[in-house]
Amino acid sequence: MDNKLKQQLHTKSKTAKYEQRGKLASIMMLVLIMVVVLGIIGFILIKGTSMFFNDKIKISDFLFSTFWNPGGKTPTGNPAVGALPMIVGSFSVTLLAALVATPFAVGTAIYMTELSSKRGAGVLQVVTELLVGIPSVVYGFIGLTVVVPAVRHLFGGSGFGILAGTIVLFVMILPTIVSMTVDALKSVPNHYRQASLALGATQWQTIWKVVLRSASPGILTAVVFGMARAFGEALAVQMVIGNAALMPHNLVSPSATLTSVLTAGMGNTVMGSLQNNALWSLALLLLLMSLFFNLLIHLIGRKGAFKK
């Protein structure tokens, strides 16, 4: 009897074993994701730096020159691997698209969670989820036949440029931001709203000061993911932005983004050549820039959260 009790005390209960196994399984999944993430980041790091190590290109030539023609030379005789036009292009298109899309997306999400009937919100949700699945090519095609001519008539130029890219990206990232913002707003507990209304706040005050405030980390994540999509988007942007590696001098002059140049050139270059390595360096740059954006947004988010 004594022995049995001892044994029972020394072996883990079924529940404890279950707990252990479950925790182990979930940590394994996370490790798996981390392996994938680190694998890709390492892969891009190796590929993206080989231009600087193998081909002896100076980083300053890459970051600050405006001549992009890998394998060729600039008029002054330096290697023409200047990514500056694309950096400017990517920055402006992404920032503008996020700036335009965020108020629209948050407004729509507020309507869906706070104001509308359940049915209206349901229809809107289905429609936005539908839009996520439209292939980029179709967006690009519509951009080419609708947005570019419209921009050409209204603002002059050839119509291709940052403005057209911004408009197309705005529509493309809208569903992502709306859908994730809705989730964030929904996870604000209902008693927050009730408490606020009970204190005599108007509905708008409740939304502005209570709901949006407490959902702000989630909303920021939504914006980050929207911007990430804008950053990584290639096929649609490439068709409407003009995809010319030139410094943009206004919103309707043809320019290019890192992604569009990268995607368009990848298939035509030979792996391991300077032309190909230069494209991988663009990918690395893209990764670093999105890291920067990400940290920036979280920093802003933390500042906002303190005031709560």
């Binding site: 036949t145 010319a244 035509n268 391991g272």
Partner: protein
Amino acid sequence: MSRKKIVTIIILILGFGGLFAAYQTRDQTSGKNEAITAVGSTALQPLVEAAAEQYTNHHPNATINVQGGGSGTGLSQIADGAVQMGNSDIFAQEKSDINSTKLVDHLIAVEGIAPVVNKDTGVNNLSQQQLIAIFTGKITNWQQVGGKNIKITLINRTMGSGTRNTFEKYGLKGKTSATAQEQDSSGTVRQIVSTTPGAISYLALGYVNDSVKPLKLDHVAPTKTNIQNNSWPIWAYEHVYTDGPATGLTKQFITYLNSKEIQTHLFAKMGYIDVDSMKYQRNWQGQLSKE
């Protein structure tokens, strides 16, 4: 044992049993099948795909898998031996980073390339000097070459693309085009030229349709006959590369690609010219020799 556990076990047994049974009853003849993969040039892809479809209709045991990816990908992968056929719009020697010594070149077809413009430019013909001046950015309005008062919009193919390579080599006499819009596919180029006033670009003849206007060059039209006797100089070979001499199914299929049936019927329908009908030949440095 709980009922849930028993159910799980039964489902697992049935699942694995099913898989095992499926493996046992699989089509044994499929073991004799030979499969080859072709990767590369997107322009060549529909051609090879159509031929592969016809070939496998006659030879049900053969699987020919045709993928795109671009000429650069085709050449890198065939040089690495990762695939059986590498499709390319350009000679392997033109890409200096490819070790082309062990690659065997099979010329499959000839494609002609024509400058195309938006229909509203009012121009039908250009001299080669004018064409060069337009693409290097010295002429910027169609008025300067006898057309309407519309600004010229240049549209290029991506750097490294076979079509651009050929166009700059023979259409622009080796001059590099000014930095301008770059698109990576014929379909997009055609779409943009047809909707943008004053746009000019170039397309392989198979892609020219009535939404865009092909230009004459020094009053020579881009026709089949003119390409065959080289009075239209902007043309290039379509290549299939193999790693060493072709063997087995690859060899049979390449022979099939060069057969009369494919060359004169299928390829002609798609706007390509058969290699044998050319009066001139060209090597990778661009030197001509008479047949």
